[in-house]
Symmetry: none
Subunit: 213 residues, 4 copies
């Protein structure tokens, strides 16, 4: 499952061999980008890592930027689909939230290179060409919105929430937990953070003493 771009579909259609090369390049690129950052990486490095010639990359990708775009399009899209699937498995809002967070941490832990590239590129303001990167985050936050609304219907979540803020609140917290894990060198188990994190989301850090404030 690791580094698997198995469902990626290249423009070059569906011949097995091509798909194979397409995936190899994409995996190589994400690995190189993760290690050095997108800008510091060269096409030559990606080509060497993928075991193809420099020129071959341009048979599968329009240009360097396009590699990143396709990464988001094929790899992340698929991850986000999994988020949806896992959320569906829960029945209550809290279960769904827990499933979302757990799967998020799980997937990013499974593919650390993806996590690194995702974190870095998501926080760039530039590169208008990559608007879809933001679409990805939006999709994530849409899932949260739905869960929150269900929770409010169920009566398990506060009705006085500013949902637009809650989405950021959760998204940001999870991202930063992943970010820390990346910078720590991936030393500890990321998934074990899921339950404590959900607990924080639901109950907050305050006691009833603090409620009066």
């Amino acid at each position: 499952m690791k580094n698997g771009f198995s469902s990626g579909r290249s423009i070059i259609a569906s011949k097995g061999k091509h798909n194979d090369k397409y995936r190899r390049i994409l995996e190589a690129a994400v690995k190189v980008f993760a290690e050095q950052g997108f800008h510091q990486s060269t096409i030559a490095q990606v080509a060497r890592e993928a075991g193809v010639a420099d020129g071959t990359i341009y048979l599968y990708f329009k240009n360097k930027d396009d590699i990143l775009i396709q990464f988001y399009q094929y790899k992340t899209k698929q991850v986000f689909q999994k988020f949806r699937d896992e959320v569906e498995k829960g029945s209550t809002a809290v279960e769904k939230l827990r499933n979302l967070i757990r799967t998020h941490l799980q997937e990013f832990q499974n593919d650390r290179n993806m996590a690194i590239v995702y974190q870095a590129e998501t926080h760039q303001n530039r590169r208008l060409a990559f608007e879809q990167i933001r679409d990805m985050s939006k999709m994530y936050r849409d899932i949260i919105s739905e869960v929150i609304e269900q929770g409010q219907d169920e009566g398990t979540m506060r009705k006085d929430l500013y949902v637009g803020l809650v989405k950021r609140f959760i998204n940001g917290a999870v991202d930063e937990v992943i970010n820390s894990w990346i910078h720590s060198g991936g030393k500890y188990d990321l998934v074990s953070m899921a339950d404590p994190l959900v607990d924080l989301f639901i109950r907050g850090i305050g006691t009833h003493e603090a409620d009066g404030q």
Copy 2:
């Protein structure tokens, strides 16, 4: 106060005029970096924006990287000092937390370019030379730790918290709120998010109904 690098001290000492040029370059650089990203920006662009010759930049900065480093050293350090100062003004832990968040949002709203550059560069994994960037975030999280501990002593914050996680939880949520504001084009008032955000941190999103979960 906007874009003020007034306490920046170049090697060239403290004569009014020199500081002036040093600050002009730094402000210009942060503006250009914010607009295009660090790597997409050229020294020539920064020079033009600052109204100086390309070579002049090298009288004040060792190289292009050094501009970013000095930005963190002089601009952000000063902002973080303000965080500490404002936190001191609160007496209870919740007040302190609220002051921290409010000042954070306030300062980043005051200097949007700083906010953009800060967000972008903080999430890069590469560039070991910029370790101090991470030190900055650490400093921030240290403040949070202290506040949490005070709250636990006061009895206003839960004693069963994993503080290492709470720090990320709060840091990430605030960052993402700022990030959203940036990407929205700075259209709304960022500071008004402070109180709702603190409320989320303290009380969470759940009702007592959810506690049983």
Copy 3:
């Protein structure tokens, strides 16, 4: 034979075309360096002279310095091998010395650009990276040493010679004769200087009258 870098072997291996481009660049470089000096020459000039793009040079040479280094490595090394070969053809020490000097003048006359670059760079003290340049001169003087020793064994050369000095004496004299020829614009036949020069080495400028001094 002129300007022939035929034995040069680039990393890019030995396909005719590649070697061709490698040689073309090397020849162009030596020509440009000879005309303007190494430092006054630009990569762009060398590229234009060689009929390639600037960047192409970096496919064959690590950097500008490397061009000079390879020049010494491939061109001069080969010349010096010829010196050895010609020396071997003589039987007596005087014949060997004469062959050495004649070949030296011959080869440098054949490739005036090489002569110019060699003369100029050999007298620079800096540039530690080019130590091999000095190794080249040392190799030359080693040949002389051997010849002198043979002459002493034969009884045709004085036994009271400080060989370390004699090497410099001969090396310097020949170099200066070449130097003069270069600065004259290569107007006269350099090789015809060989016999008179050897005569001076062997007999000196004095008469028996002077011996008493």
Copy 4:
């Protein structure tokens, strides 16, 4: 006596203070040029070594090249005058030659920086502006010519000499001996080479056995 440009006369005329600064810059320049080569040296380095501001150099020298030109004009010219003086003190041709060589080695040993700069720049073909550098060598060789002619009149030097060649022969040999000394780091006594060298010039390296060749 070391590094003494005491008889240098700047265009700025004869005020003591100016002359002082002029000499300081010239000495500093030669020191820096000797250490790093002319091209690797910067005006800023020379200025720092001389203890003046960069701009000050342009009050005494037209440009960077001019420093080297003035070096030859004032420093070397004066050395060459000393050569003439010392030659005059000899009566026989051999004495004069010996005095020339000895003084040459003596002066260059006394001012190693001058020796280094002289050796390096004399062997550059470029820089037409520095034709006078070659004039210097010519002046030197003119002295040799006169001595040879005297020797021929005296009967102590061979009449069948090609004087144009002999000049190069002697000049080159001495230069190379100095060159070796420089590259050795100036470890041994250069002046002690004078007598053996003159002996080589007069008697050659051959025995009477070799005469037949």
